[in-house]
C-alpha cells in the first residue's frame, strides 16, 4: 500500500472550496430548523389535540425514516407529482440546494423540537408554579421562566444535534451538490484514490465538529454561571 501525500496536499485546497457550501447548508438549515422546532414545540405543548396530533405524526415520521430517504423523496420524488411542479414552491424545489435545505430543515426540526420539549419538561414544576403564584400570565411564565431554564437544559443535546446536522449535510452530495463531500467524491472518481481523499476530508469534518463542540461548550459555561456556587 502506498499513501500518496502529494495527492493529499493537492486535494485539500480543492476540498476546501466546498466548505462554503457545507457552511451554508449547515447554517441555513440550523436556523430554519430551530424556527420550525419552536413552532412544533408550541403546537405540541398547546394542549389542543388538533395541534398536538399532527405534530406528533410529523415528528414520528421524520424521526422514524432515514434522512437519505427523505432527501431522495424531496429531490427525486416530489417532481413526479404534477401539482408540486405547478406550485409556488417549485422555484425552491427545482434547485438541488433548495431541496437539501428543505430536507435538512424538516429533519432537524423534528429532532430539535423533541430536544426542546425535553428541556421544557425538565424545568422544575415548582418554578412554573412560583411564576403562577406571582400572577404571571401563562405567556409570561413561558417566556421568562420556562424558556430560559429549558434552553440551558437542552443546550448539550442541541449541540449534539447540530453536529449530526453537519454530518448530514454530507448527504447533499447525493443530489449533485458540490459540498466538501461532493467535491471529495468527484476527486476520488477522477483519481481513483479513495483512501487519501476521504481521510483528508474526514480531518476537515473532525475539525468542524471540534469547533462546534468548543463553541457550545463556551456558551454552556457562560449560560450556567448561576449554577456555579461560591467558586
Amino acid at each position: 500500500m502506498s499513501f500518496d501525500f502529494a495527492l493529499i496536499v493537492d486535494s485539500i485546497p480543492k476540498i476546501l472550496t466546498g466548505i462554503g457550501l457545507t457552511f451554508q447548508l449547515l447554517f441555513l438549515s440550523a436556523v430554519l430548523g430551530l424556527a420550525l422546532a419552536i413552532i412544533l414545540l408550541l403546537m405540541r405543548i398547546s394542549g389542543r389535540w388538533y395541534l398536538v396530533a399532527p405534530t406528533m405524526v410529523y415528528i414520528y415520521i421524520f424521526r422514524g425514516t432515514p434522512i437519505l430517504v427523505q432527501i431522495f423523496i424531496i429531490y427525486y420524488g416530489l417532481p413526479q407529482l404534477e401539482f408540486v411542479r405547478d406550485s409556488i414552491f417549485w422555484p425552491i424545489l427545482r434547485e438541488a440546494f433548495g431541496c437539501a435545505i428543505v430536507a435538512l430543515t424538516l429533519n432537524t426540526g423534528a429532532y430539535v423540537s423533541e430536544i426542546l420539549r425535553g428541556g421544557v419538561l425538565g424545568v422544575d414544576r415548582g418554578l412554573k408554579e412560583a411564576g403562577a403564584a406571582l400572577g404571571l400570565s401563562a405567556r409570561h411564565r413561558f417566556i421568562y421562566v420556562t424558556a430560559p431554564i429549558a434552553i440551558r437544559l437542552c443546550l448539550p443535546a442541541y449541540s449534539n444535534d447540530v453536529i449530526s446536522l453537519m454530518k448530514s449535510t454530507a448527504l447533499a452530495s447525493t443530489i449533485t451538490l458540490l459540498d466538501m463531500m461532493g467535491i471529495a467524491r468527484t476527486i476520488v472518481a477522477e483519481t481513483y484514490a479513495p483512501y487519501e481523499i476521504f481521510i483528508s476530508v474526514m480531518v476537515v469534518y473532525l475539525i468542524l465538529t471540534w469547533i462546534i463542540q468548543r463553541g457550545f461548550g463556551w456558551m454552556e459555561k457562560r449560560m450556567s454561571r448561576h449554577v456555579r456556587s461560591e467558586a
Binding site: A130, G131, A133, G135, P148, V227, R228, E230
Partner: protein, 257 residues
C-alpha cells in the same frame, strides 16, 4: 405574645377567603373531603396534620395551582372556577411561599424580585428596584441582591422567596411548609421574618408543623387528616385541650421529641 386579629375592628366581617364544601380528587384518590373554611382579613391560620392529609392541596387550591372538583372557593371576592378569566389577577393578590423556595435559578436575587412587579404590575424599572431592595432589607439580606439563588443558603433563599412574594403587595400570604426543607439552624431566621409579617397584620395561611410558631401567631389552628378538617380551634384551646382522638395522637407524636 403579639396582638391577635380581634383588635382590627375595621375589617370585621368580610371573609377574604371562603371555602365551602370543597372536594378535590386525584384520580380515584380524594385529597380534600368537604372542606369549609373562612378567613377574615388579617387573620392568621396555621394548618397542620400528618403527611398526605391534604394540607398542601388545601392552600394550593386557594390560588388555583390545583383545581377543586366540587364546592366553592372565593378569594377576595372572586369565585375560582374553571371559567375564571383573571386568575392571574387573583394570584397576584395572593403571595405564596413554597417548601422548596422555587427561586428562578437563572435570575439574580434582585431580578427574581423585580420580575413579577415589572410584568404584572407594569412597574417601572426603578420602582421595581426600589420595592425589591426595600423588601430585601426587610428580610435582612440586601447585600445578596446581585447573587444567584444557588449561591445562597437555604434560609436565605427562603427569605428571598418571601420578599419576592411581598413585592407584589399581596393581600394574603400562603406558606406551604416554608421551613421543612431547611436545616435546623436556619429555621428561626425564616420564622422571624414570618412573625414580623404577622405582627404587621398580614392575612396568612401557613401549613407548618412549627407548633411554637402556631402558638405565637395563629388565630386559628386547623388540624387535617385524610383530607378532612378534623378540628379547628384557637391555639390555646387546640394545644391544651384537644378534643379529637386523632388530634391527640398527632400532637403526642409531634411534641414528644
Amino acid at each position: 405574645m403579639i396582638p391577635k386579629v380581634l383588635d382590627m375592628s375595621d375589617s370585621d366581617q368580610t371573609n377574604i377567603i371562603q371555602l365551602e364544601h370543597v372536594d378535590k380528587f386525584f384520580g380515584a384518590f380524594q385529597a380534600l373531603k368537604n372542606i369549609s373554611l373562612s378567613v377574615k382579613k388579617g387573620e392568621r391560620i396555621v394548618v397542620c396534620g400528618p403527611s398526605g392529609s391534604g394540607k398542601s392541596t388545601l392552600i394550593r387550591c386557594i390560588n388555583r395551582l390545583e383545581e377543586h372538583d366540587n364546592g366553592k372557593i372565593v378569594v377576595n371576592g372572586h369565585e375560582l372556577t374553571s371559567a375564571v378569566k383573571d386568575i392571574d389577577a387573583v394570584r397576584s393578590e395572593v403571595g405564596m411561599v413554597f417548601q422548596s423556595f422555587n427561586l428562578f435559578p437563572h435570575l439574580t436575587i434582585i431580578k427574581n424580585l423585580m420580575l413579577a412587579p415589572r410584568l404584572v404590575r407594569k412597574a417601572s424599572k426603578s420602582e421595581a428596584y426600589d420595592t425589591a431592595m426595600r423588601y430585601l432589607e426587610r428580610v435582612k439580606i440586601p447585600e445578596q441582591a446581585d447573587k444567584y439563588p444557588s449561591q445562597l443558603s437555604g434560609g436565605q433563599q427562603q427569605r428571598v422567596a418571601i420578599a419576592r412574594a411581598l413585592c407584589m403587595n399581596p393581600l394574603i400570604m400562603l406558606f406551604d411548609e416554608p421551613t421543612s426543607a431547611l436545616d435546623p439552624e436556619m429555621i428561626s431566621e425564616v420564622l422571624d421574618v414570618m412573625i414580623d409579617l404577622a405582627r404587621e397584620g398580614m392575612t396568612m395561611i401557613v401549613v407548618s408543623h412549627e407548633m411554637g410558631f402556631a402558638r405565637k401567631v395563629a388565630d386559628l389552628v386547623v388540624f387535617m387528616d385524610q383530607g378532612e378538617i378534623v378540628e379547628s380551634n384557637p391555639p390555646e384551646e387546640f394545644f391544651d385541650n384537644p378534643r379529637n382522638e386523632r388530634t391527640k395522637l398527632f400532637l403526642s407524636q409531634i411534641l414528644s421529641h
